[in-house]
Subunit: 330 residues, 4 copies
Amino acid sequence: MLRIAVLGAGRIGKIHAANVAADRRLKLVVVADPNEAAAAELASSLACDFSLDCGAAVDREDVDAVIIGTPTDTHIDLTLRAVRLGKPVLCEKPIDLDIDRALAAVEEIERLQGKVMLAFNRRFDPDAMALKKAIRDGEVGDVRQVVITSRDPGLAPREYLRHSGGIFRDMTIHDFDTARWLLGEDPVEVMAMGNRLVDPGLEEIPDFDSVMVLLRTASGKQCHINNSRQAAYGFDQRVEVFGSKGMVLNENHRPSSLRRWTSGATEARDPLLNFFLERHADSYRVELNAFIDTLQSGTAMPATPRDGIRALHIANCALEAAQSGRTVRI
Amino acid sequence: MLRIAVLGAGRIGKIHAANVAADRRLKLVVVADPNEAAAAELASSLACDFSLDCGAAVDREDVDAVIIGTPTDTHIDLTLRAVRLGKPVLCEKPIDLDIDRALAAVEEIERLQGKVMLAFNRRFDPDAMALKKAIRDGEVGDVRQVVITSRDPGLAPREYLRHSGGIFRDMTIHDFDTARWLLGEDPVEVMAMGNRLVDPGLEEIPDFDSVMVLLRTASGKQCHINNSRQAAYGFDQRVEVFGSKGMVLNENHRPSSLRRWTSGATEARDPLLNFFLERHADSYRVELNAFIDTLQSGTAMPATPRDGIRALHIANCALEAAQSGRTVRI
Amino acid sequence: MLRIAVLGAGRIGKIHAANVAADRRLKLVVVADPNEAAAAELASSLACDFSLDCGAAVDREDVDAVIIGTPTDTHIDLTLRAVRLGKPVLCEKPIDLDIDRALAAVEEIERLQGKVMLAFNRRFDPDAMALKKAIRDGEVGDVRQVVITSRDPGLAPREYLRHSGGIFRDMTIHDFDTARWLLGEDPVEVMAMGNRLVDPGLEEIPDFDSVMVLLRTASGKQCHINNSRQAAYGFDQRVEVFGSKGMVLNENHRPSSLRRWTSGATEARDPLLNFFLERHADSYRVELNAFIDTLQSGTAMPATPRDGIRALHIANCALEAAQSGRTVRI
Amino acid sequence: MLRIAVLGAGRIGKIHAANVAADRRLKLVVVADPNEAAAAELASSLACDFSLDCGAAVDREDVDAVIIGTPTDTHIDLTLRAVRLGKPVLCEKPIDLDIDRALAAVEEIERLQGKVMLAFNRRFDPDAMALKKAIRDGEVGDVRQVVITSRDPGLAPREYLRHSGGIFRDMTIHDFDTARWLLGEDPVEVMAMGNRLVDPGLEEIPDFDSVMVLLRTASGKQCHINNSRQAAYGFDQRVEVFGSKGMVLNENHRPSSLRRWTSGATEARDPLLNFFLERHADSYRVELNAFIDTLQSGTAMPATPRDGIRALHIANCALEAAQSGRTVRI
């Protein structure tokens, strides 16, 4: 039984801790967070220890592996601390907002042969895996165009946005990883438009709330991504993969399959699942499973810190492209 | 060029007249209706003669074929008048509400080798034809169960209902014909329930507004029909054919393919097409086409007065079943 | 923490045991089954005791509540044994195939004020609950017609069918319970057709493989149920509720939301989830939850042995209706 | 009754001629095409004159208005010939592939106050009109992002492509017009990627077969267009309009609404309508209607030669952007 420390008792930490606690192959030993109330409450509900010191939790002798869901600027230190102790890590993305710091850390991890999986949970969404499988099975032939739509249900608080690193590094970065993963090649070129159509006041950060991006790989495959910080109808996540033999696409998810027929509108369906915690709940479970399976089988991590670097680099290039109005080589 | 008289300038007569006028193989010679205003207006809009005397219109030397859309109790006389002159007839259903009169007329038509097509227009609906084709092509294998849903958008006026012959002979009769046509066999047994869930006042007619029927053929194929005189969401017409190899079903139709995503409900679609004139507009054109093609090719009529007798007989048996609560042999 | 014994280590017992083991409010103490290999394997995978004696497992002092997933003919004895010890029971349906024995048992349970929930798991399916909620919220107005389609992916082995009690008591019984639950009234009348369209050899049992049923309540609400033991396209479970204000219906479920567009067919979707264990997996979890919540809140059981009696009685009446060809008063 | 000459007896000319012949307000006087066989056959089937001389057909005294469906390089001369005679023109797009020639012609038309409608038929597609109406009715609030997918079923013959003016001017130009029309503003900036993913041999023309475009208007509205010359699953035409209050999108069209459930794939639907003649058949009728209504009401043409110039200019800028890899100001 693998003994786990979960660092961070916030939104994501809670999900990881609950999934660990429900998994018979794992034992949740401790949750750590400087916020005592949050740490204590989570530990109490899941019957484990709590700690205010994340580093100390990493060090505990009865901890075999670490899951990191703390603020971004602590990811590198905590990851390296675990790696140096030979403990595997499942670390939330991004590894860091500063690409030079991130690159140095990744090189250190690779030098130490650390077992670190970066938590690109959307790769583990059952629909995303079905898309990937369809590509692998040759259902669409050679991939030619990928179209990714990703819109949030509402603008995050100004304070969150101020420290988010900007829409490309905070939101589009998921889509950059999805694009790399589904295209099966790294993009070499990016074009981007950023506008403030939801809240012109974002200029003071400065940040955009509506972006459109084009990517191209070395072999000429094309990808479009569109993002909005606010979709009136909810959290909209759609991916379409078009190739020489056909197309596969996924639909949004709803609480039930009900269809309603009334005098106003016919075949109205349930509103979308609220946000990523609801829409992607499965993906966190599957991701944890993939992490453990990988540890047990000794195979390569399905998403590495280097994947994180690559997505972050595309995000930086996209920002430069949007600001300059020029195509940027990646 | 076939010269046509259209008898009846009401709802159905107008459709037939317009379709005749738009068909380059046909010449609309005259529309006839005792209602002078209706006849004159329709004739004027389509640039043809009008007459107040339906019989005289049948007799005209410059009329080669007759389309009958007059009240039900005139169908037999007008059809026989045309048949005796050797003129082909496309006659609206039912041939008559009295099955004995209808049977005598059909025997007379058959004796005279009259070319009479009964206007079961729903057989000519493109979706219905696609269902039939799927069955013929073996897509569902052996048909086992047919489920027909047919609901009107709103209760017809009391006066109409009083003379309609009752829901089984007026509304379900379409579904009885569809059932016979899709099952490929005649039902030999019927069970039925009739209730007044929309308007209890229909008891004074007496009539039902909500019915459910079961049919069974000699080889054991089963069919369910449900009807309601009032569906809040509009004119609901669905057919499902289930067989040994699979199932085919059709959807309701809408003015456009738009899907709407708003904060209230997601993927709401356009309201349904209002009623049979809109939903089945194509079927009247295809039906007219089938009538002319049949005349030109000399093949058997795709829907005969005898088909009308059979559907009417099932309707009568269903009414008996609903009133007695007993299974009725057809 | 409620300590649970699960009786039966077969298909259903395994699901209940796994759900108990995963629930933090419960402790799985023992699984019991005369089949030693099955009991031992299940106990080992879930880290609990096993027993070959179901009765002894009920009696254990460290068992607070009992879940019964054993063969039907043991349900009454095991349920009463637990009830007499004051232990709550979640018992698989049916309570018994013999309605007189079942009725006597229910009266005994009621006399002893036993806490027994009958496992009509489909009431706890999220889609079914959404349908029920839509009715309660008045979305469809007064319910007028309910249409239930329930088709199995393939014919069960002859040996299973021989002891199943017949299609009405084994398969349609789920739909009878759903009908009662959604109609909000007990049916008072049943008409039924049974045929052998999948396998004529079922005559030797004798049993049917294809049935159509009509139900009517005292206030005149109508319900249609159709069943087939074999649907080429998989496990087909659909319910449609039609009322004065509109209609709600649920869709079948699939492993992913993918839509495929290829040269052959467009918008093809994933095959349906295989069978009830996959399609209704959620319902077993929600059902267990409802059982525990009810015990903790002291409210009335959401599905009682008497509900089981009523569904069984309708099934018996339906069989009589199908055999006699007559409408049967329930 | 308006007397019409249809110039061109090819694919498009045939459609226009048939629609004119079927319209009771119009009289088809003559069809003209240097290809005698084509002209004679079309004239014979629609019972009108034919001519080998398009100019002479324009000049005929019994011709009130002209519909031009001849090769692109004749559009300007024939249009101006009709305009100088005071005859209204419905001219196929593009007005010319050379933007300077086109601009000179449009200025001449405007100086002469010619009544010329450019045949952007897709604006008259019922789905496109429903999208536009939804925007006008405020259903999506302020438009923020438009996503247009437009893929042909198969690569056109090399000879056609060689004279097409390139994918942006031949294919994307429809989408540029749609974008302008739905955005309600002219784009001021374009980014584009062009690749040869279907047929690398197109380099010799040179032309692209797969393109992705971004457009931005002065107020910051964004639009994405993707095109492919070959979609294995058929002619794919989808438009999505996303705004502050929601989203509307249209679906592809099929011959029937049938859904098929078989053991292979469930809910497979009919293949898409083959190509633009089938998919947009309605739009040609509605377009002709709009042309006549405009003539009769004296209102402004719903699509003008200047609209054609603007779409052509965007296409030229997109080509420059794709070739240079730079953002181009429009």
